[in-house]
Symmetry: C2
Amino acid sequence: MVTKQLGGSADDGDVRRADSLAREIFSDVANKWALLIIEALGERTLRFGGLRDEIEGISHKMLTQNLRMLERNGLVERTVHPVVPPRVEYTLTGPGRALRVTIDGLCDWTHRHLGHIEASRHRFDG
Amino acid sequence: MVTKQLGGSADDGDVRRADSLAREIFSDVANKWALLIIEALGERTLRFGGLRDEIEGISHKMLTQNLRMLERNGLVERTVHPVVPPRVEYTLTGPGRALRVTIDGLCDWTHRHLGHIEASRHRFDG
DNA sequence: CAGGATCCCCACCGATACTG
DNA sequence: CAGTATCGGTGGGGATCCTG
């Protein structure tokens, strides 16, 4: 399970609530576009257009949608510069950067096992 | 980007192919149910029903579908015991267990930042 | 018990057009 | 340039029934 079972707590309600919250967050974060956005941001500050250029295949809509979600969860900071034309910049927050580290691990894993996976697929499909 | 840019390679084709493959794997793996299945399996061996009981809210269909996908990618091993009633067991493979480590990191991250996220959401929604 | 097959609905997502 | 709104198609995913 996502949440550790903490044994007999005085009040199970808190555990339950934290559990469902964890699941919710998990659903938000364990999504292709969200992960790619965080990975694309890295340590940089990027504008909306910059992000779109960086993430191949993402649509305008998915980008805004996921950026809002990440901002809501406090993983991305959105700063609007009151100029014309508008200039909006996105940066990872502390928690966002922490998450990025684990995503890096996921990327590393992917590359380390590319060969194994490709071979396994070939075997399976045949 | 998911794939590191390796600078001017002799043949860009290989890089491109590996890149798209990496994206494909990423899409397979960066999905809520797949991650929960891998996390549920852990070091244990579980049967189909056991997995269904373990993963709250997963449907029959999603479980089979994701198990097939994980098997195809060589992350879980499926062993069928020729008895009646059927007995099918699932275990993580080496790469699967390696992936599990990074997913553990993701779970840890989630729990460490529950508070921050909840607060941020509240701020955002208000 | 494991898991395919089918039906069906809803949510995701892309495309497009419009505002500040 | 950044962002919202709307519409329509496609596929995700649940419920159910059926087989070995």
